[in-house]
């Protein structure tokens, strides 16, 4: 068949397809598009095989590409996705990252403990970790003499702090993850220094005997926040490790596979940090609640997070 005839024969179909691709958003016409798809693939194959003019092949190629994009475009079925994510994908991802989580945990906790012990026993040590204005700020926030925890709180301010925690904490987690691409070094830095600061502050405030203000404040949201930061570190280390030790894959392919595997971790981290920010802004900060309540709720939250974190193994296919 000559090209002219070929074009004349299929012109009507091509017009329909072009029209359907022009306004793909209208309703769900994916069924119709699917009907076009195979015939069009065949026509492209024929046009190539018969060496029809390259402009025609290009046009057919672009039509197939357009259909392909429509058919394989992401369709959000949020409810179903979230259910599967929450009860399977995220716990499973945690389980599969367990060694990276352990590594991230150690890199954060060990410097924290060392710095904490140092600032606890040495009055001056805190000034090696933070500068003096930051130290004064911390001391003022957790001073037991103060009526409210830290800031003058009204419900309005709670929302401000909620926004602040969201922006600040999730940005830290994202940077911690991204640093993994630098062979994991960036991630190690973020984990190490965060551990050091937190340990240093905790040690110093314990030394000043601000125990009853500091620990009830952090225990609640710490469950979600610290765990999420460790998870983001694990995701980052996963990337770095994929480059350093690709196993049977080429390094680029190994990195690409790791990039797909960490995705549930990233979603989970965002979710956990939003919860953490919520707790921190609206629960941790309230000064009127008895300390015992805060500790019990904190313990319950920690139990919840840990229980969830350790629940992934049963989802691993055998």
């Amino acid at each position: 068949m000559k090209q002219h005839e070929f074009e004349a024969r299929h012109a009507a179909l091509w017009q329909q397809i072009d029209a359907a691709l022009e306004k793909p958003a209208q309703g769900d016409n994916s069924e119709r598009l699917a009907e076009y798809y195979l015939p069009l693939c065949q026509q492209l194959a024929i046009a190539k095989e018969r060496m029809y003019d390259s402009a025609l092949v290009d046009r057919l190629n672009n039509r197939v590409l357009g259909l392909y994009r429509e058919l394989y475009r992401y369709r959000a079925d949020t409810r179903l996705n979230f259910y599967a994510f929450f009860w399977r994908d995220f716990p499973l991802a945690i389980y599969r990252h367990r060694f990276f989580i352990l590594a991230a945990l150690l890199v954060m906790v060990l410097p924290g403990l060392v710095t904490g012990a140092w600032t606890y026993f040495d009055d001056e040590a805190i000034y090696s970790v933070l500068d003096s204005s930051q130290v004064r700020h911390m001391e003022r926030i957790y001073d037991p003499e103060a009526q409210t925890l830290g800031r003058e709180r009204e419900s309005d301010t709670d929302i401000l702090m909620f926004g602040f925690y969201i922006k600040n904490n999730i940005s830290v987690a994202f940077r911690c993850f991204a640093g993994g691409l630098l062979l994991g070094i960036g991630t190690l830095f973020v984990l190490f220094f965060n551990g050091m600061f937190m340990g240093g502050i905790a040690g110093h405030l314990t030394r000043l005997d601000y125990v009853d203000t500091f620990y009830p404040f952090v225990v609640g949201h710490g469950s979600f926040e610290l765990t999420a930061i460790v998870f983001s570190g694990a995701a980052g280390l996963r990337l770095g490790y994929a480059i350093l030790n690709p196993g049977q894959w080429r390094r680029l392919e190994s990195l690409r596979r790791a990039g797909r595997e960490v995705v549930p971790m990233l979603y989970g981290i965002v979710l956990m940090l939003i919860i953490a920010a919520f707790i921190e802004a609206f629960w941790s900060s309230s000064a009127s609640l008895p300390i015992a309540v805060k500790y019990s709720v904190g313990a319950a939250l920690w139990a919840l997070v840990l229980l969830y974190a350790f629940s992934g193994r049963r989802h691993e296919p055998r």
Partner: protein, 228 residues
């Protein structure tokens, strides 16, 4: 060889082709997006003042700031078929490396890793990486398995109805026929002298010189297209 064509086999058993896009267009798209993001942030600041900058307004502003900073590209890439407004303007789109549209996961990974591409300043790491692989992928693209391709406009074929077909004087091979057809199709893109120059190569077939040679070749091309 410098070739921006990217081929991939898709379900349907055929190879699809797309053109990968280099740093220049992507840089312009980024700048357009940067301006849009800037405008959104300014609008946001103004809108949050009545709600109280140190209270509710400030809280919402910070959340939106976070979304604009980190999730602006992700939201657009997922909702708008791989195109942020800047990319749409430049006619480029992000796709997975099997040419299917980006999914939220891949888009999130490539955009979070933007931080590393930015290092040490002004996307230097991203630029160097982009220029050192065939598919112009920056670091985030490599890890996510995505690439940026141009979205083809619907190029219409130039009508060639006014050419009287002419049977070729001799048998020609398939690829020779294709070359002559392409010569006809692209006639409008070539200058007359250049066309004559090309037609002169086939003087042995057309037995004509200059404009007549071009015309005769066009007519043979029309014949190969199947016009009678």
């Amino acid at each position: 060889m410098l070739d921006t064509r990217y081929r991939v086999e898709i379900p349907g058993g055929i190879h699809l082709e797309a053109q990968v896009v280099g740093p220049i267009a992507r840089c312009f798209a980024f700048l357009v997006d940067l301006v849009i993001r800037g405008l959104i942030v300014i609008a946001l600041m103004l809108a949050s003042i009545p709600l109280g900058i140190s209270g509710m307004g400030g809280g919402f502003a910070l959340i939106f700031l976070f979304i604009i900073e980190w999730l602006y590209p992700v939201l657009f890439e997922v909702m708008a078929r791989g195109q942020t407004p800047g990319k749409k303007l430049l006619g480029i789109a992000v796709v997975n490396d099997d040419l299917s549209p980006v999914t939220p996961g891949t888009s999130l990974v490539r955009n979070l890793l933007r931080t590393v591409d930015f290092l040490p300043f002004c996307y230097l790491a991203g630029l160097v990486t982009m220029l050192s692989n065939r598919r112009f992928q920056r670091l985030g693209d490599l890890a996510a398995g995505t690439l940026v391709v141009s979205t083809p406009g619907s190029a219409k074929a130039a009508p060639i109805d006014d050419v009287r077909p002419l049977a070729p004087p001799t048998t020609l091979l398939r690829n020779e026929q294709t070359a002559i057809v392409n010569f006809l199709q692209r006639g409008s893109q070539l200058s007359q002298p250049r066309q004559q120059e090309l037609a002169a190569i086939l003087e042995g077939i057309t037995h004509e010189k200059g404009e007549d040679g071009v015309e005769r070749l066009h007519r043979i091309g029309a014949w190969f297209l199947g016009m009678r």
